[in-house]
Each structure stands twice: as C-alpha cells, then as structure tokens.
C-alpha cells in the first residue's frame, strides 16, 4: 500500500514537472548562424580591413555581385536541441570564387515570417515535434581597388560644389 502511494506521488510529481517545463518553454527553433569555413573576410558593415589593419572604405571596393540565399534550421525538444547547423560558408565561398571576389561586405541577416510547423496548436508540446527557423542572408561580394584607382573613383563620385 505504501509503495503504491509513493509511486502515485512520484508519478504526479513527474507529470507536474514535465507539464511545468513544457508550459514555461517555447516551441520553434534557435540556431547559430555560421560562416566557419569562409576563405575570405565577411563583414556585416560596409568596410573590411586590409593586411596592414587599415580600413578599406566603400570607395576602394568594386562590387562584383550580390549574394542572397535562404536556409531553414530545425530543432526539437522545445528549441533545446538544434538539428544540424546553419552555415552559409559553402554557398558563399562558391559565389565568391565564381566572381573572383576578395571580401564580402554589407552582410545582412533576415528572419523570415513564422513557418507553419511552429504554430500547430498543442502538437508543439511534443518534444519530437520539429520547430523551424528560416534565415536569409544577403551581401555584396567585392574586390579591393588599388589606392590610386580608389582616389580617382572617389573624385568622380564626389558631388559638385556649388
């Protein structure tokens, strides 16, 4: 009899604990966005550094092309266990090689609208139900213009003084 009471108590406690964990958590997915094996520098701003640590401003950059792609990241266990990685390196390296670029600048990270699987009522409570995060990045691929050429470019781009 005593064993049965203990078992019931334990079961109730476990169920309460699981329910509490479930209700306090979020469904969906959480991912690190990576560029781990990039072969050229990637900057989220408009500039990069040269080998001497000097800033290469936009005037000394020639835009060779644009990069844009979207990836979906998955996760289970209420975002606690991401499945796979979101790494844009391979696609971005391929595009840089195709254009002969030396750096990637103005990289922006977009989070797309909620995906349907995240909004399934109640089914989200199942730890194996997959959550999704949809990430899109876009950036400019550039080559560095030599200093003199860059100055000339700056002069031609400068507005006329009235």
């Amino acid at each position: 009899m005593r064993t049965l009471t203990t078992l019931t108590t334990l079961t109730t406690l476990t169920a309460t604990l699981l329910l509490a964990i479930c209700l306090c958590n979020c469904a969906g997915a959480r991912h690190r966005v990576r560029f781990d094996s990039m072969k050229v520098p990637v900057s989220m701003s408009q500039s990069v550094l040269d080998q001497h640590g000097e800033i290469i401003p936009p005037e000394r950059q020639e835009v060779l092309g644009h990069f844009e792609t979207e990836v979906q990241g998955y996760g289970i266990m209420w975002t606690l266990a991401p499945l796979g990685k979101i790494d844009f390196s391979d696609q971005l390296n391929a595009r840089v090689a195709e254009l002969g670029g030396e750096a990637v600048v103005r990289l922006r990270c977009h989070l797309e609208r909620n995906v349907p699987t995240n909004s399934f009522l109640w089914i989200n409570m199942l730890p194996i139900w997959p959550g999704i995060v949809r990430v899109r990045v876009d950036a400019d691929i550039v080559r560095v213009v030599p200093q003199i050429e860059g100055r000339q470019r700056q002069k031609t781009q400068a507005p006329a003084v009235i």
Binding site: G28, R30, R32, P41, V42, L111, E112, R113, N114
Partner: protein, 155 residues
C-alpha cells in the same frame, strides 16, 4: 464549406499572422564587423587576437507579441526598448548598431568580431500565438594591431 476546408483556412490564418520578418542590418557602420574566421583581406590564416578585448557588445532586433498585435522591441544589453507597433510592415531597424557603435567608442583603428550570431523563431507554449523572434549579435572589439595569425596555421 467542408470541415476540412474550415480547418485549412483557420490554420492558414493562424500561421499567416505570426510576427513579421526581421532584418539585422549593420551596413550603416563604417567599422568592420566580422563574422568570418579570416579578418583581413589577403590573409590566408584565421585570426587570433593578442591580449584582452577593448570592449564587448550585445545587441539585436526582436519581435514579440500576440499574432494580432506584434510589438517590436530591440534589446541592447539587458535593456529592452519598444520601437514600434505594427504587424505587416517589414521591420528594418539598425538598433544593434547602437550597441556595436557604443563598444567601438569612436575609434577608427578597431575591428568588431562577432562571436555569436543567433536567430530564433519561437512560439510560447503556454500562450499559443505569442511569438518571439530575434536575431542577435554578441561579440568583442579589438584593436587592429591585436590581430595575429593562428599559431598552428602560421608554422
């Protein structure tokens, strides 16, 4: 309308009104903000940094709220700032830029290195329809003179 069609429409509407898309946009800044292991143009080695970082930064853009009334907020450090209330507008806010800009402190010989760029799309399970999306950057600022090649690669 059949029961199946009603469910399809209901679920379609429910999912369509989630938080609007977010964009983390730091393109207005002139200091390099690096997300790659190689930091300088022309380098073939991944960067290592000598000494301690000059400062740290943490910022991002976040959208939280119920489907029907999303509230856009941005977090800089632990502070939360409400930015606007809208649901269908595409948000394009540079609020993380403030955190990075503050960490840079007006210096032009530094580089901001992003350690963690995180994207999350969440639905709170106790309150269905309550969404929380964010894109965040966490990182450190180093002087350009602190950049070195990793030893194992430089050999």
């Amino acid at each position: 309308m059949t029961s199946h069609a009603k469910w399809t429409v209901a679920i379609g509407l429910w999912t369509a009104v989630g938080c609007a898309p977010l964009t983390l946009d730091l393109t207005a800044l002139s200091t390099p903000i690096m997300v790659s292991p190689i930091t300088r143009v022309g380098d073939t080695c991944t960067a290592a940094y000598a000494g301690d970082a000059l400062s740290q930064f943490e910022g991002g853009i976040e959208a939280t709220g119920f489907s029907a009334a999303s509230t856009y907020e941005t977090r800089i450090g632990n502070a939360v700032y409400q930015v606007s209330q809208s649901i269908y507008s595409h948000t394009r806010l540079n609020n993380a830029a403030a955190a990075v800009h503050r960490a840079i402190g007006g210096r032009d010989d530094v580089v901001a290195v992003v350690d963690d760029l995180e994207a999350a799309d969440l639905i709170h399970m106790s309150v269905f329809g309550y969404s929380a999306e964010h894109v965040e950057v966490v990182g450190q600022v180093y002087a350009a003179s602190q950049i070195r090649c990793r030893k194992e690669e430089a050999k």
